[in-house]
Symmetry: C2
Subunit: 134 residues, 2 copies
């Protein structure tokens, strides 16, 4: 049975991509933690986590079936879009990404870019990332 829970970001475990994912185009320097995720918690239907992109680094262009929301927690960068387009994003901005829409995120500021991701899925594992350049 599900119960209310509170996850504190400063107590979260931080993750990095496996070698297998890096071989498929994922960035080995990204770090992230799960804040609401059915693989860690008793929850369903919403999954939330925080991704940290180092200065001058990026989450490359990719797609996935579910729609997604980004909340910029701190830092600033460019939201990467198809056909070389991009938009600037900064703290407190909220981004909606439709299903299967190509997108990425580049840190163009001088501090780590911290982004909250939200999926309408039970967990992050349910989201298959497809990187464009591989």
């Amino acid at each position: 049975m599900e119960k209310i829970f509170v996850n504190k970001m400063e107590q979260a475990e931080w993750n990095q991509h496996t070698k297998e994912r890096v071989a498929r185009g994922a960035n080995p320097d990204l770090r992230w933690c799960y804040l609401v995720d059915s693989t860690k918690n008793s929850s369903h239907g919403i999954s939330v986590g925080c991704l940290i992109i180092p200065v001058e680094d990026e989450l490359p262009l990719h797609t996935h079936a579910p729609q997604e929301v980004y909340l910029i927690k701190s830092g600033s960068g460019r939201l990467l879009m198809p056909n070389g387009k991009s938009r600037s994003v900064s703290e407190s901005d909220c981004v909606y990404i439709p299903n299967n829409e190509k997108h990425g995120l580049r840190n163009t500021g001088d501090t780590p870019l911290e982004v909250i991701w939200i999926f309408p899925t039970d967990c992050w594992k349910d989201v298959e990332y497809i990187y464009s350049d591989v």
Copy 2:
């Protein structure tokens, strides 16, 4: 057709409860904006907004059918739970609230308590709030 969009919180329109909702127990001093919401944007399946609870004020105990996630954006308070229980919450905390679970939020700090809400619904209007004390 849905497209990527960016909503900036500082450009958002702020709302307060209607007299009708206040008569049903809603707090007239709360303010909120919609960040992703199908009534304002071309989006679906995730709805996100920001609620501001003034100092010493609260979002009273209530329930709704969908599960919900709170992200504490700034400030500190108590997460209200059934049977008089509560838990302290502060900046960067992430709260999961199961379907139909009674909850509320009280600002116990000395600055406005800013909370991001997330529902797996198209919009906030799809969520029927049931207040416990009315």
